[in-house]
Amino acid sequence: MNKGNIINNTITRRKGSMLQDIMSKIKYLLVLAFLLVLPMLVLPTQSIAGGPGGNVLPLVDQTDTGVNRLIYYWDTRDRDTLFQLTNTSTSTIVVHVQIFNVGSTTVDQPFGSCEEVNWDDVYTKGDTHVYDIENLVSNCTADQLPDAECESAPNPDLSNSYGFVSISLISGDDFAMIGLFRILDGPGGYEYRTNAAGEDFFGDDTTDFILNFNNVDGNNLSDVVGIVYEETDFDTVFAAPFISIAFGGNSGDPFDGFNPQVHIFDEFEDGTSCSPTFFDCSIGNFNRGIDNSIPNSKQAALNNRICNDSTLSESNDAGWLFLPVNRFDFEDPEEDVFFVGFLGLNNGNGTGSMDSWLSSEDDDDIPPTFEPSEI
């Protein structure tokens, strides 16, 4: 790989295609039409191999448009978390805020009970509000709204813990909720900030995930967050240690398409297969590390890396993790199970960043026949 070219192109303007123009003008109608056939076309294809029952596993990876449910990660282990919700509609919405605490334990569940606190909140048109996870103040309280559905936020002890927040629409305009969260690491002096994730109503059926990592500015710690939950009602979700998602198979060709294995690749395209891994709402299985080279930011001592046997060379600058969904477990076979992932990278000393997992675009319905030229 030692060839390169620098080119200068002289190109003439080409007008946009008719389809592009039409798509731009009637896209909402297309959305509506697509949504009408969504239950027939999409949902049946989303069953994951190995997943019993009729459940589906929609990806929660819509971070670009308004949604009816937002999922945030929070962390207070020497960190502060702020999460923001905005109502972009022109009418009032009522939302159900649920906070799940992975770090909470009981005698029966020493590895995490995933306790929940929740309340309803109200947002008028164009309203926005920032919650501090350790000093919860409802928007109703902050804005002194008189709405009968207004509640004060609870005051749980969420210190030195971590988990996720779900905010679901109870009433009001659809697809008007957007959100982001900021996790400020005290010792590290860095910030994780990214848009909260919502359910993609187009029904993304991709089951492969791509997690880029690199050593830009000395990144050597990670937070590989996997959130899995059941939707028990349109405005309520449920998470527990026994509701989980598993990645990677045990056997066969790593890329055979039927039982692919988790892989980690370095910058030289050297891939190492890794054992199956899973995520649930329990300590150690909610926020993992990438491998021995890039362990978890807060639980380096825990043996909870995606690739426990992998140690990349110190001279390696970049790589990526391939995470194919294998199966999921759930409590109620009648309920849908959802998954969202966030990946944080930091150097433990001043810089870091977080974003959602990347899913692999699935082109099975329109396979490309183009063969690239040999180099």
């Binding site: 390169g4 946009g16 239950p39 670009d64 009816n68 959100g179 791509i210 675009e361």
Partner: protein, 661 residues
């Protein structure tokens, strides 16, 4: 005194009304002081940018916006974060473009003000394709939307590489020239192409995964990190059904030269109203694809039988086996003949089912005869399926309504109007003293079986003595014909082979939202901010290149007590600005000097603007930005109403989900 008080009262009322009237208007021009919303003090809220077309400027195929801020909430060094702004809609093909791989990566880059950008690109081939290395073409644009660097690179399967914009080494190991990038910023695209540099056409290769990291090392140590935008390559086969006319140039839309009609004998051509003494207007095409051609209303066919150019009996045109002395029968005794026959034949066409020929005809009569000569016009469908032609169907027209067409059937009486016509066409200027019949419209001849056919229109004169002696001149006889059509449907498939050439079935996904929404929050009362807009359109041929494009950004801001303020508008290709007086451009932000306090308080909200720290910036980035005008109240209303549009369209979804439960 009363009068003065009254005047004062009126003045006060006027001032109050003016205050209300302008409360939603722009505080200052967008871009002033490097801010989207100058003179607005909001610390928590969201920036709303409505996308409109910028007059006389190219509209983008991609429009994206980032929002990030820098702060020191934890009391130490600065820290920051950034992500793409929310939009009302992305695309039908790639609804989550910042969270899924694609064929093109789009990102902001900056080497300005002590920042350094790193872009990681992965050829994240999954388990779908066994061999999927790909060329990519990297295009780097500056803040003026001018391309300042491009280079080729190659990624093998599972490959990943980080471009450090401070010292760009390609994945191929080439040290790319980057000196002209330093101290600048703009946007970058990484596009999968078939080969590089040529042909350099974009391809569908939806496995590129990108992440951008912008590190600040100037005043403090912080970093923005975010996944890039990923545009999907849209590539599929289209099968379309179109209606065609098997009779080519059936409405003579090709003009005076009526090819592919062929004059086999006699005199004929295309004519228009200028060719005819009374300006007779051709009949507009009633239906079929020819009707879409405006020329179909301007021209028609013309045939004439004249003693000027003797052409003899009907020779059958290309179907010589059909030649005969009497084409129209029943008017002459055996041995007599017809003469000066003009024959015009269409293209030969094939149909796989029974069809109907439609046409319009106007008969041009000879002078009203003392001794009637039953001169005629004929239209025939010739069946040449077996190679031995025969008349499938014919219809004849004359002034007496007598005689029979060659396929049978009595001739139609074509009553003339008695006027005199002069027609320039068919190679001469022909007089018709007997006048003209009206147009017989939508005349029909049946084609009963699949096969090979042609259409002929014919004129002829009686050749018997009574019509050709010295006392009776066998006058010109002709016909105007128009709108021949045998309609058929054909299926055409437009294939996509993976090359994205911008056609209807092969292009990079178009991502241009109607509204951007960027949330912000300055817990300490002030912060630095970077709001970046990127716009470009796709130029596909001969090789793929992004080109500068513009939106007219109509900017407003909502604060945490739901107060909306319009901020103005400006045309934008690339721009980086701060948000408002509280979240100034990050270049000018030095951080708080007091200990921060996290989170909201229960204090009553403050309505209206309040005084805030003012770190007056020296200006923003984005030479593409053209200063806009203060926004009007109408724009403010639009800002409120436009978000209703997507909500209205997708309103049923929630109910659908509930019913599922």
């Amino acid at each position: 005194m009363i009068s003065k008080l009254r005047f004062s009262l009126i003045a006060v009322i006027m001032l109050v009304l003016l205050g209300f009237g302008f409360q939603n208007q722009a505080q200052a021009q967008v871009g002033t002081d490097g801010l989207f919303c100058p003179a607005v003090p909001d610390t928590t809220g969201w920036l709303e940018v409505n996308v409109e077309a910028a007059p006389a400027l190219p509209f983008p195929d991609f429009s994206g916006a980032l929002i990030g801020s820098v702060d020191s909430l934890i009391g130490g060094p600065l820290h920051g974060g950034m992500d793409w702004q929310h939009v009302d809609f992305t695309s039908f093909f790639s609804p989550t473009p910042t969270n899924e791989t694609g064929s093109q990566i789009v990102s902001w880059w900056t080497q300005k003000d002590g920042r350094n950008t790193s872009l990681q690109v992965t050829n994240a081939i999954g388990n779908q394709t066994p061999d999927a290395g790909t060329w990519v073409h990297v295009h780097i644009f500056d803040e003026n939307c001018v391309e300042i660097r491009n280079f080729c690179d190659f990624y093998t399967e599972f490959d990943t590489h980080v471009y450090n914009f401070g010292d760009i080494i390609s994945n191929l190991g080439v040290d790319e020239a980057d000196a002209n990038l330093q101290g600048k910023e703009g946007f970058v695209t990484v596009t999968a192409v078939d080969n590089c540099p040529t042909p350099g056409q974009a391809v569908e290769h939806d496995y590129l995964a990108g992440n951008t990291f912008v590190k600040s090392v100037a005043s403090s140590d912080y970093m923005y990190g975010f996944a890039t935008y990923h545009r999907e390559g849209v590539c599929f086969d289209i099968t379309t059904t179109t209606t065609v006319n098997l009779v080519l140039n059936g409405s003579f839309q090709n003009g005076l030269n009526f090819s592919p009609w062929l004059t086999n004998q006699g005199n004929a051509s295309g004519v228009n109203s200028a060719s005819i003494s009374d300006g007779t207007v051709p009949i507009p095409a009633a239906s079929g694809p020819d009707a879409a051609n405006p020329n179909s209303n301007l021209f028609m066919g013309f045939a004439v039988s004249s003693v000027v150019d003797t052409s003899g009996i009907y020779g059958g045109g290309p179907f010589t086996e059909l030649a005969r002395p009497q084409l129209v029968t029943g008017l002459q005794v055996p041995g007599e003949f017809q003469t000066n026959v003009t024959v015009v034949t269409s293209n030969i066409f094939v149909t796989d089912e029974s069809k109907t020929l439609f046409y319009d005809l106007s008969f041009l009569s000879p002078e009203v005869d003392i001794v009637p000569c039953e001169n005629y016009a004929v239209v025939c469908v010739i069946d040449d399926t077996t190679g031995v032609a025969n008349f499938e169907a014919c219809r004849c027209y004359n002034s007496v309504g007598q005689g029979n067409a060659p396929s049978g059937g009595q001739c139609t009486l074509a009553t003339n109007d008695g006027d005199t016509y002069s027609v320039v066409g068919g190679g001469g200027n022909f007089m018709f003293d007997g006048g003209r019949s009206g147009f017989f419209q939508n005349e029909q001849l049946s084609i009963n079986n699949p096969g090979t056919y042609a259409v002929q229109f014919i004129t002829g004169q009686m050749g018997d003595v009574a019509c050709t002696d010295n006392t009776v001149v066998n006058n010109n006889t002709g016909a105007f014909v128009d709108n021949f059509r045998v309609l058929d449907t054909v299926e055409e498939t437009l294939f996509c082979d993976g090359i994205l050439d911008g056609s209807d079935n092969a292009f990079l996904d178009v991502i241009v939202p109607n509204v951007f929404a960027g949330q912000f929050d300055a817990q300490n009362g002030s912060a630095g901010a970077d709001v970046v807009h990127i716009n470009f359109y796709d130029e596909y041929l001969p090789s793929y290149t992004p080109q500068a494009a513009y939106i007219n950004a109509v900017v407003g801001i909502w604060n945490d007590v739901e107060k909306f303020t319009s901020c103005g508008e400006l045309p934008v290709c690339f721009v980086r600005l701060g948000i408002d007086e509280a979240l100034i451009l990050s270049d000018n932000f030095v951080g708080p000097t007091t200990a921060p306090t996290l989170g909201p308080t229960t204090a009553p909200p403050t309505l209206g603007p309040t005084s805030t720290p003012t770190n007056r910036p020296s200006g923003g980035s984005g030479s593409c930005a053209i200063a806009g005008n203060p926004v009007q109240l109408g724009t403010a209303f639009a800002n409120v109403l436009i978000p209703l549009v997507p909500v209205a369209f997708v309103f049923g979804i929630r109910a659908m989900r509930r019913r599922k439960k």
